[in-house]
Assembly symmetry: C2
Homo-oligomer: 341 residues x 2
DNA sequence: TAGAAAAACTAAACGGTTTTAGCAAATTAA
DNA sequence: TTAATTTGCTAAAACCGTTTAGTTTTTCTA
C-alpha cells in the first residue's frame, strides 16, 4: 500500500533539495536562512504525508542511535526486571530506547552481545558484568564507549559504577539478628566471585565477629538445579541443628530456602528466623512477612541513567576520573526475623 | 585507538574490490566463483583485524535488522518478564535481538514506540496491545509488517495471536472451588475491557452459573493506587461476610488481596480460600501454598516466536489466513484452595 | 586457432540522512 | 554604478555495506 516515503521523495515532489529538508527537520531553518514560507510548505507536506525520518540512516550518518544497551544477568529476575523498567522509563523521557539482553553470566555470550550493540552504534551501555569480560571492557574504555557497571564491578578496572554497599547490607541484617537475640546465624550464598557476593559474605563475617558469634556458611554452586539447592539447604540445616536464623544472599536462594524449611517442617520465626537479601513485593504478604535487605531501586536507576548520560556527554578527555556511586541498602524489618517475646 | 575498520579499508589494504569481500562474507563465494585462495586470504585478514560489519549499513541496504520489537504492558511484571526472557533466548538462537518497551497500557506511547521500531526496520513485533491502537495495527497489516498479538487481542481485527484460554482458566478454578464445597465464591478483577480480562470474567460467571452459586464480583479501576486497592478489597470482603473463597484475576490483585486478608485477620484457607490467576514462583512456598491458574510459559513463548517467524518468512500474499493459537492453562492445586477435612 | 564457455572478479547504483562548502540572486554600501 | 554583503538555497561527499549487471581473463572445444 502506502510505501515508506523518503526525504528524496519529498525533495522530488516539492522540487527542492534534500539539504533544505534536512535543515528544516533539524531546526536549522533559521540558521541556514530558509524562508519561513518554504519551511512551512515542507512542514505541511511532511505532516500530510506522515513522513518519518529513517532512524537507521540517521544513525549511520551521525554515529548516534538514541539507544542504550542494557546487559543484565537475567531479565526474568525480579530485581533486574524492576530496574529495567525504571531505567526504561527515565531513558524514554530523554528520547532513548533500550535494547536489552540476558547474559546468563556467560562471558562469551556477553561479549558477543556487546559487539552486536557496538555494530548498531548503541550510545551507551549498562552492564552487570560476568567474570571474563574484563578485557572487553578495557577495549570499550579505550574506544571511549560510554558504559556503567551495575550491581557488581571489577576492582582492577577503573570504570563508572552504580550499586549498593553490599557489605553494609549484610551487616545491618546480621546486627539486627544479633540484637534480636539470635545466637547461631547462618549465611546461605552462592559460590560466586562476583563483588556483590563477596561483599555480602564479608559483611556477614564482619558482623558475626563483631557479635562474637560463630560462622555457619553454606555456599551453593551457581549451576545447581533448583531441587538440588533445596536439598543442599535442607541438609545443611539438618546437620547444624543449632542454627536459629538465616540470611539468604539472594532472592532465588530465599525461595529455595523456604522450600527447604517447609520440607523440614520448620516454622518462621519460631524455629528459625529468616532475612532475605533483596526485597520482593510478595515478602510483605508472606505469612509471616519476610524481613529483607532492600536496594533503593528508584535511586539506583536514576543514578545509573544520570551517570551514563554524563559519561555520554563527556566524550572529550578519556583520562577522566570515573564515577562510583554506592548507595545504602535498607533493612525492612518484618515478622520473620523477630524473636517472639 | 583502534579505529573501527570498514569494508572499504579491507578492500584497499588487500587491493581487491569491496564486492568480493561482501560475497565472501555472505557465503556467496562459491556461487560467485571467488577462488578458495582469495576467500581464505580475505577471511584471514578479517579475523586478524577483528573486523565486524556495520549492522546499520546492512540494515539500511537490506531492510532487515535481525531485531524483534517486544511491546509489553510492563516489563517489571513477573509474567511478562519471564516471557520476555524465554522469547529472548529463543530469538537469540535464531540470530535475533530483542528491543523492548513497556506500554503502561498507554495507546499514545504504544503507537509512538511502534513507529520508532518501524523506523529502525524492526523485522517483527510481539505486542500486548492496549485499547486504542487498532488503527495502527491495521496500518501495519496493510504494510504487511509481521506482528503477533499476545495475551489479549482485538476481536474485530484479524491478526495472528498467541494466548491462553482465559475463559477456561477461570472455569477450572471455580469448578475446583465448587468441588471443594465452597459456596460463595468471589471474583476480584480489574475494570478492563481487554479480552483476557473479559474472558476471565466470563469464565467465572459461566462456572458460577453451572455450579448454581451466586456471583460476587469486585471490579477495581486500573488506575487505583496500591493502598486503595487493598482498601477496596477489604471493604468488599467486610461487606459480604459470607464469601468463603476468592479468585484473583491477576497476580497484582492477589498481592493486594493478601494484604487485605492480613488486615482483616482472615486466614487462608480456613476463613477464606484463595486462587490466583497466573502462577508465581513464590506461590509454592507461601504459607499456605497458593493455588494458581498457570499459563504454560514455555509453550507460549515458543509459539510466539514460531508464529512470528512464519509470518516473517511469508511476505508473499497479504490476504493470508491468520494464525491463532490458544493454549490451555493449568490449575496448580495447592493448600490455599483446599477445604480442611 | 578461432570461438565459446566458464571462472574470477569489479564498477556503480542503492538505501536515507547529515554536513561542508559554495553558488546565484537580491540587497546594501560606497 | 560597482563592489561587497546578505539571503536563500543546493551539490556532493560521507556513512558503510549489498546487489545488479557487467567485464576481463582463463580454459576448453572443434
Amino acid at each position: 500500500m502506502k510505501q515508506k516515503i523518503s526525504m528524496n521523495d519529498i525533495a522530488q515532489d516539492l522540487n527542492i533539495s534534500i539539504t533544505t529538508i534536512s535543515f528544516i527537520l533539524n531546526g536549522k531553518a533559521k540558521e541556514m536562512r530558509i524562508s519561513d514560507k518554504l519551511t512551512k510548505k515542507v512542514l505541511d507536506y511532511i505532516e500530510e504525508k506522515n513522513y518519518n525520518p529513517n532512524a537507521l540512516a540517521q544513525s549511520l550518518r551521525t554515529g548516534k542511535s538514541k539507544i542504550i544497551g542494557l546487559v543484565v544477568e537475567d531479565i526474568a529476575d525480579a530485581f533486574f526486571a524492576s530496574v529495567a523498567r525504571l531505567i526504561e522509563e527515565r531513558a524514554y523521557k530523554k528520547g532513548y530506547k533500550i535494547i536489552y539482553c540476558s547474559t546468563e553470566d556467560n562471558p562469551k555470550k556477553t561479549i558477543e552481545l556487546i559487539r552486536m550493540f557496538k555494530s548498531r552504534n548503541v550510545d551507551g551501555y549498562i552492564i552487570t558484568p560476568p567474570k571474563g569480560i574484563e578485557s572487553e571492557l578495557r577495549f570499550m574504555r579505550n574506544d571511549s564507549l560510554p558504559f556503567v557497571l551495575f550491581d557488581r564491578y571489577f576492582p582492577e578496572i577503573d570504570t563508572d559504577y552504580v550499586g549498593i554497599d553490599n557489605l553494609e547490607g549484610s551487616k545491618i541484617a546480621i546486627r539486627h539478628l544479633v540484637d534480636q537475640g539470635f545466637k547461631n546465624i547462618a549465611f546461605v550464598t552462592l559460590d560466586s566471585d562476583q563483588t556483590q557476593m563477596k561483599d555480602r559474605m564479608a559483611g556477614y563475617r564482619l558482623a558475626i565477629k563483631e557479635g562474637g558469634a560463630k560462622e555457619y556458611i553454606l555456599e551453593i554452586k551457581f549451576t545447581s538445579k533448583p531441587e538440588k539447592v533445596v536439598q543442599l539447604i535442607a541438609n545443611f540445616l539438618t546437620k547444624h541443628k543449632d542454627i536459629d536464623s538465616v540470611l539468604f544472599a539472594t532472592n532465588y536462594l530465599a525461595l529455595q530456602g523456604f522450600a527447604a524449611l517447609n520440607k523440614l517442617k520448620l516454622t518462621i520465626p519460631e524455629d528459625i528466623a529468616v532475612i532475605g537479601f533483596d526485597d520482593h513485593a510478595f515478602f510483605e504478604v508472606f505469612n509471616p512477612p519476610i524481613t529483607a535487605v532492600a536496594q533503593p531501586m528508584k535511586n539506583l536507576s536514576e543514578n545509573l541513567i544520570d551517570v551514563l548520560f554524563t559519561n555520554m556527554n563527556n566524550e572529550s578527555q578519556p583520562g577522566q576520573e570515573s564515577t562510583k556511586i554506592v548507595l545504602n541498602p535498607e533493612l525492612i524489618v518484618r515478622a520473620s526475623s523477630l524473636r517472639k517475646k
